[in-house]
Structure formats: structure tokens, C-alpha cells
């Protein structure tokens, strides 16, 4: 099955929308969305659009959370009403740092603070808490009509704890994480959000293994892999053509390097490769 077909199947499987929606829900769904100018356009010339799922992966200390915070700051700055929901499982996000990044995008400290006030932070201390929070978000999508971006840091914070706890009751962690992936795909689709999620490298040397499962991996439209290299970080972006793309897909692989400074991410040279 091609990546595009897998994504279509994944979205249909995850969609458990009720039969009929209220007028409020319909308006929230059909309202035009502001353009989500994002740091990810540094990696490729195409802005993420509602429904896109971006995954940032890499080893510890490679800059995943910093890149995620750049996306959050860019989303909060693109419009005076845009809102972001950040699901924090790792506790690596720092608000003073976010404010610093916002001040780079916005003309004044007051504007940066006003943008920060549109960030809803959900701090989860367990996998169950995180998943219940996502269900709450799904249940109240019409109340979150202004939310452009759902940021998750990270998808793998509780993996080993879950694997141990589920193993004790005879269950498998892959089913749990497959359901988590389905929740995020439903949010991206029904909520017309961009989902940006970080994921730690959980296993050294294991190629192709993804703890979220094949369905999630197929639903991801942009995969950013970070690798520390010679004082900088090499980011490799792989794009999957979206289901609604009519034009031929662009070159699907970009490599770019960046460093993290006090002002935020600073991009170095860009190079587009074809697969």
C-alpha cells in the first residue's frame, strides 16, 4: 500500500465523528484558517497546512524541543487570534525561552506577552493523562476553533513506563501507542490543525522501528530527523505528498543544518536532495 493510501485509510479508521454536527461545529470546521507561517518553511518551500502531521525525531540533546518551540512561536505570531495547544510530557519547555522567541517575531514585549497568553499548556505526568487530554480536546473542538497548532513534546516520554505497566496486565504497548497516533490523526483531520510532535530515539541501531506503529508513520506528512554533527545539528526533512495534492510532489528530501543560539534556531546552508 502506498504512503498516500495508508494515510487515507488511517484517517478513515480514526474518524469516529458523530452522525451530524451542530451549526457551531460546522462553522468552526469551515472557517478559513490563517496561513501557518512556520519555521519549517526554512526546511522546504511549502508551508504546513491544516491536517499536516510533522514529526521531529532525534537523540537526546539534538534540539527537538527547541525546534518545536520555534514552531509554537511562529504559529502564535502569524495572526493576532491564532492559538496553540502544547501537550508537555517531557517538561523541557520553558516559558521565558518562548517569550524570547516571540519577541523576535513581534514588534514589542507587550505583543509577545499577548501572543503567549494564547498558548494553552497541558502538562501530563502519565500516558493516560496525555491521552485523556487529547480526548478532551477532541470533544471540544468547536471551542478551540482558533487553535492552529497542536504541539506535543514528546510522544515517547512514558514509553518504557507504559511498556512495563501494560506488560504486567498482559497487554502490548504497540496497541496503546497506535491508539495515541489515531487520536492525533483525528485531531489533525477534524480540528484542521497542524500537529507537530517530537519523538526520542528509543533504540540505538534499530532501523525502521517506530514505537507509534506503521499507521502513524504513514500518517506523518513531514518527518524531520535531527542528528548532532560538528557543533551544529543536521536536520533531514522527508515530505510525503498529501492526499489532496493535485500537482506532482516536489523533491521529497531536504537537508539543512542549524545551530541553537540565544536568539533561537539559526539556519545554516540549505541543500535539496532527491531520493
Amino acid at each position: 500500500m502506498t504512503g498516500r493510501a495508508c494515510r487515507q485509510v488511517a484517517m478513515l479508521a480514526c474518524d469516529s465523528s458523530p452522525c451530524g454536527e451542530s451549526g457551531r461545529q460546522l462553522l468552526a470546521r469551515l472557517a478559513p484558517r490563517p496561513d501557518l507561517g512556520s519555521v519549517l518553511t526554512e526546511l522546504c518551500p511549502h508551508h504546513p497546512v491544516p491536517g499536516d502531521i510533522v514529526e521531529i525525531s532525534g537523540p537526546g540533546g539534538s534540539g527537538k524541543t527547541q525546534l518545536l518551540m520555534e514552531c509554537v512561536a511562529a504559529a502564535l505570531s502569524c495572526d493576532s487570534t491564532s492559538a496553540v495547544v502544547l501537550l508537555d510530557t517531557d517538561r523541557h519547555v520553558r516559558m521565558p525561552r518562548l517569550l524570547q522567541l516571540l519577541q523576535r517575531h513581534l514588534p514589542s514585549a507587550a505583543a509577545a506577552r499577548s501572543a503567549a497568553s494564547r498558548l494553552e499548556l497541558l502538562t501530563a505526568t502519565s500516558s493516560q493523562q496525555a491521552r485523556v487530554a487529547l480526548e478532551a480536546l477532541l470533544a471540544r473542538l468547536e471551542e478551540h476553533a482558533g487553535v492552529l497548532l497542536l504541539a506535543v513534546d514528546s510522544l515517547s516520554a512514558f514509553y518504557w513506563s507504559d511498556r512495563h505497566a501494560l506488560g504486567r496486565v498482559g497487554e502490548r504497548a504497540d496497541a496503546w501507542y497506535r491508539q495515541l497516533g489515531q487520536q492525533l490523526v483525528r485531531l489533525a483531520g477534524r480540528g484542521r490543525l497542524v500537529v507537530v510532535a517530537t519523538r526520542h530515539s528509543l533504540s540505538a541501531g534499530a532501523t525502521g522501528w517506530h514505537h507509534m506503529g506503521a499507521e502513524w508513520a504513514a500518517a506523518v506528512t513531514r518527518s524531520v530527523c535531527l542528528r548532532p554533527q560538528q557543533g551544529a545539528v543536521e536536520a533531514t526533512l522527508r515530505m510525503v505528498a498529501r492526499t489532496e495534492d493535485a500537482a506532482p510532489p516536489p523533491p521529497s528530501l531536504w537537508k539543512r543544518r542549524f545551530v541553537i543560539t540565544d536568539e533561537g534556531v539559526r539556519w545554516l546552508e540549505v541543500r535539496a536532495d532527491s531520493e
Binding site: S126, Q129, R163, R168, Q179, S201
Partner: protein, 331 residues
């Protein structure tokens, strides 16, 4: 992991309703919340409004805690905890940051426990409380007392300061988790706690990592999550020590406890010690050990790769004299 539906969650969840839900495969809180309300009224005898009410109660109880970014920005800041060695403190932006998990990583006898002692003494001198979870029985309160005495405190003052140091021996990950949960749940009892030391996490966790069923990695993740939660909620610094292991035959060294732990700490200081014991040309304080180096290997807020040399003396941790290059002998 799975929170099962129980009558105590909400009075509307009677035993009959729970039995009906169970017959339809809905046994857990998450299973209930992930079903549409229309589907749930067909699975049990609750009305639509009752299902919505039960969902509200469950969301309030089990969802992640929401807060606004501006509330966090408005929290009063807590000054970093300085050890007394400006160069080492400078690696972390002035000292141990409140709310963060800091890891000291290095081989045996490099000075990890000494640095913990120095920061503990600094916290006591600043009027704060310290909790030490000692897994190796190497944490010397007497040495901490000597650090305080060398800072000019009288014997009586040292006794009074040491009353604010709470010492606990822990011999298992489960005991450590119980201690951390006690700190979190009884915050009033631990008011003023500024530093929580775990020496050493490797001693507790390493024996479990090879156990079947991923119990070691699971407990390690639980400890990491709890340490970060306690640090954030109590506005303290959690300071843990860890060993270094060979990453692969012929390869470099890396922190112990595997990939499961590598991403957990907010900051990681790698410690090393000079191996030469011959007296060098640099004047060092008397009764000082060999020169040691701390390198910032990971940080969420400071540039990595910076390092600082320090010495461990009777007064605590002090800056090492700056190394001068030997000039080449003239022909």
C-alpha cells in the same frame, strides 16, 4: 496505567451501569471518554445528559493539568543555587536552576558526591532545606559540616544549619519513588526545600536494567518523570549522580542507564579528573585534590560544550588556577 471505571468516580456510575458498560467492552476511563456520547447511551441505561455529566467529571479528574503561559511567566523567579565556584556555576547560568533536573556524570571518585556536598552546603547557608537520598552510603554529613565551618560558621551555627538537612538512605528504586511521592504530597512538611540530591541513581537503577519485563527501564522512566514533577512543583533542583560506561568496544564513554535515561535530565555535567599526580607548576591550595573539569554536555538553556576547571578542598569547591601553556625551551 489503566484507570478502571468505578462507582466512586461519579454517583451516576452505579453497579448496574458499570456492568452494562463492561458487557459492551467499556471498562476503563479512557475507553468511556473515547466513545461518542451517542454510542454510550446505547451501551448503558444513562441518558445523554448523564453521559455528558459523567464525561465532565472524568475529564476534570484524569486530564492533564491545563495552565496558561502567562501564569507561568508571572511566577516569581527563584535564584539559581551557587556552589561558590563561579566558573562551575557559570556553566549553568549562575548555579543550579530551580525547577530543573541536573545530572552529574562521571567515573568513580571524580568528585560527583563532593560537588553535591558543596551545593548542599551552599543551600543550607542560603537558608534553604536539603533532602539527600543516599544509595551508596557515601554522603558525608561530617564533610558538609567541615565545608560550613570553613565558610566561617561557628559550631553552633553549623548544628542549626544541619537541622535543615534531611538524610534518607534508599536501597531500591521503589524506595526512592516512595520518598519522592512523599515530598510531592506533603509539600507543607517540606516547605523551603531547595535541593534534592540522589546519590547515586546508577547504583539504584543499574542492577534492574537487565531484569525481564522492562521493569528497570519502566522504573527509571517513572523516577525521571517524578523527579522532574517534584522539581517543577516544589521549585527546587533535583540533582542526581550517574556513572559513565563504555559505549562500544574501542569507543568513547557515555552516561550509564542507557537511551531510556539519556533524554531525561534538563542539564548534564560531565566530570573528569586529571590523571597526573606529579606536582605541576601551578600553585594550588593545600589539601586540594587533583584538578577536575566539568563540561556541560546537555542543557535546555545554556550553550553546550563549555567547561570549567575546579578543585575540591576543605572549603568545598573552588576555582582551579588557570592553566598556563609551558613555553618551548630555547635552543
Amino acid at each position: 496505567m489503566h484507570q478502571y471505571l468505578k462507582n466512586k468516580e461519579c454517583p451516576l456510575l452505579s453497579e448496574d451501569v458499570l456492568a452494562e458498560l463492561k458487557n459492551n467492552g467499556i471498562k476503563t476511563v479512557l475507553a468511556f471518554l473515547s466513545r461518542d456520547s451517542e454510542a454510550l447511551i446505547h451501551a448503558c441505561s444513562l441518558t445523554y445528559q448523564e453521559v455528558v455529566s459523567v464525561k465532565k467529571v472524568l475529564f476534570a479528574k484524569y486530564s492533564a493539568l491545563p495552565c496558561s503561559a502567562t501564569d507561568l511567566l508571572d511566577q516569581p523567579s527563584v535564584a539559581p543555587l551557587a556552589s561558590g565556584c563561579d566558573r562551575v556555576d557559570g556553566l549553568l547560568g549562575g548555579g543550579l536552576p530551580a525547577g530543573d533536573l541536573v545530572e552529574l556524570c562521571g567515573p568513580s571518585a571524580v568528585g560527583k558526591t563532593q560537588l553535591c556536598l558543596a551545593w548542599a552546603a551552599a543551600a543550607l547557608l542560603a537558608g534553604a532545606r536539603v533532602l539527600v537520598a543516599d544509595a551508596k552510603c557515601e554522603f558525608s554529613v561530617d564533610r558538609c559540616r567541615r565545608f560550613l565551618r570553613r565558610r566561617g560558621r561557628s559550631a553552633q551555627e553549623c548544628d542549626r544549619l544541619l537541622e535543615r538537612l534531611q538524610y534518607a538512605q534508599v536501597f531500591s528504586m521503589q524506595e526512592l519513588l516512595a520518598l519522592l511521592e512523599a515530598v510531592r504530597s506533603r509539600r507543607r512538611l517540606h516547605a523551603g526545600l531547595r535541593l534534592l540530591v540522589v546519590d547515586s541513581l546508577a547504583a539504584l537503577a543499574a542492577p534492574l536494567l537487565a531484569s525481564p519485563g522492562f521493569i528497570g527501564f519502566g522504573l527509571l522512566t517513572d523516577v525521571g518523570t517524578t523527579l522532574k514533577s517534584v522539581a517543577a512543583e516544589c521549585r527546587l533542583t533535583a540533582l542526581v549522580t550517574n556513572d559513565l560506561v563504555q559505549s562500544e568496544p574501542g569507543g568513547g564513554e557515555r552516561p550509564a542507564l542507557g537511551l531510556a535515561w539519556l533524554h531525561v535530565p534538563h542539564h548534564r555535567l560531565l566530570l573528569s579528573r586529571e590523571t597526573s599526580t606529579a606536582p605541576g607548576p601551578l600553585a594550588q591550595p593545600p589539601r586540594a585534590g587533583p584538578r577536575r573539569t566539568a563540561t556541560l554536555a546537555k542543557s535546555i538553556s545554556a550553550p553546550c560544550g563549555t567547561s570549567a576547571d575546579f578543585l575540591v578542598t576543605d572549603a568545598g569547591v573552588e576555582e582551579a588556577p588557570i592553566a598556563q601553556k609551558r613555553s618551548a625551551p630555547e635552543d
